[in-house]
Every structure is written in structure tokens, then in C-alpha cells.
């Protein structure tokens, strides 16, 4: 099972329209990514809350079809 980087970016962008998103396919297998997401929506949120927001945006794909997504979230 795998997920395309473009799909990950699209789902995140739908939830965080202002976000600057950088996605890297770490292993070239469509299954191990790192994503950096910068959005003002993260302001005032804990790291756990920020990551939960991104996981929600991914609509249940995280931990399922998407095995590994190293996440870095930042507020601008």
C-alpha cells in the first residue's frame, strides 16, 4: 500500500489553504515520507495538537495506507 506525494499535499492543502508544504519521498517507495507544514492555523497549538490537525486532514490515511510520514509542523 502506498500514497502519492501529490495526494498527501492535496489533503493537507484542503485543510490548511495557507500552508507551505514540503514533501519528500524518503525511500522512493511511495510509503516513507517526510512533510514540513507551515501554517498560521498552528499558532497557539501544542505540537501534539498540530500533528493531530494534520492527521485529521489526512482523513484516516495515516497509519493505514500511509505507513510513515515524518512530520514537522511550524507556525510562521
Amino acid at each position: 500500500m502506498a500514497m502519492a506525494a501529490a495526494d498527501i499535499e492535496r489533503l493537507i492543502k484542503e485543510r490548511f489553504p495557507d500552508a507551505e508544504i514540503q514533501i519528500e519521498d524518503l525511500a522512493g517507495d511511495g510509503n516513507h515520507y517526510s512533510a514540513s507544514v507551515v501554517s498560521k492555523d498552528f499558532r497557539g497549538k501544542s505540537r501534539v495538537q498540530q500533528h493531530q490537525m494534520v492527521y485529521e486532514a489526512l482523513q484516516g490515511n495515516m497509519g493505514g495506507v500511509l505507513h510513515a510520514l515524518a512530520l514537522k509542523t511550524t507556525a510562521p
Binding site: R47, V48, H51, Q52, Y55, M62, G63, G64, L71, K72
Partner: protein
């Protein structure tokens, strides 16, 4: 275990133990790179923790996701509070925040002697 029992069981583990790491594999033999990273950080800091292997029980593995509202393993709890998964724990460790948080919560670790 049925779902409600799993939720109760997880709740008890994080109360009964100051530091709990839900992981794939054990602290001695992690079976996933992300679980291994967190186990290594805790080991490096000399933190005494309870490791719970979610691969031993599918109901715990699934129930934990709902319990924490977090889709992946590993998951670190300190004093009953969810700290985060691999990325967050590593980020906090590198920034020195994990060490500060452990100290603030009175968890024995060897970070002080290392930075001194």
C-alpha cells in the same frame, strides 16, 4: 479484550507507571525504526520506563489509536500525559525540552550530568 476494557486497561497503565512507551517490539528488541528511536532516546537519558508491545495484542494496538487520538505507534506517556510520537519526542529531545519536561515532572534521568 473488548473495546471498553482496552480503554480502561490503557488508562490504568499510564497511571500505574510514570513513563510508558507503547511501541512495536520491546525496549530490548524494537521491531520498528520509529519505536527504536524513542527507545534509544529514553535509554540515552537513562529513564526507567514501562514498554508495552502493541504487537502482542491487536486490540491494544487499535484501542490505543482511539485512546490518544493518534494514528501511529510509538506513543510516549509521562505521568499520564501524552507527549507525542517519534517526531515530537525527537524534536523535544534535540531542543532539550524533553529533558526539561522530565525534570519538571520529577522523572529521574541523567540529562543533568551530561550537560554539566
Amino acid at each position: 479484550m473488548i473495546e471498553q476494557d482496552v480503554q480502561d486497561w490503557i488508562g490504568k497503565q499510564i497511571v500505574a507507571n510514570d513513563v510508558v512507551l507503547f511501541m512495536k517490539g520491546t525496549s530490548e528488541m524494537p521491531q520498528c525504526g520509529f519505536s527504536m528511536q524513542v527507545a534509544q532516546i529514553l535509554g540515552h537519558l537513562g529513564v526507567d520506563y514501562e514498554d508495552i508491545n502493541v504487537l502482542d495484542d491487536m486490540s491494544v494496538r487499535e484501542g490505543l489509536k482511539a485512546f490518544s487520538n493518534w494514528p501511529t505507534v510509538p506513543q510516549l506517556y509521562v505521568k499520564g500525559e501524552f507527549v507525542g510520537g517519534c517526531d515530537i519526542v525527537r524534536e523535544m529531545f534535540q531542543a532539550g525540552e524533553l529533558q526539561e519536561m522530565l525534570k519538571a515532572k520529577g522523572i529521574a534521568n541523567n540529562a543533568q550530568t551530561e550537560t554539566a
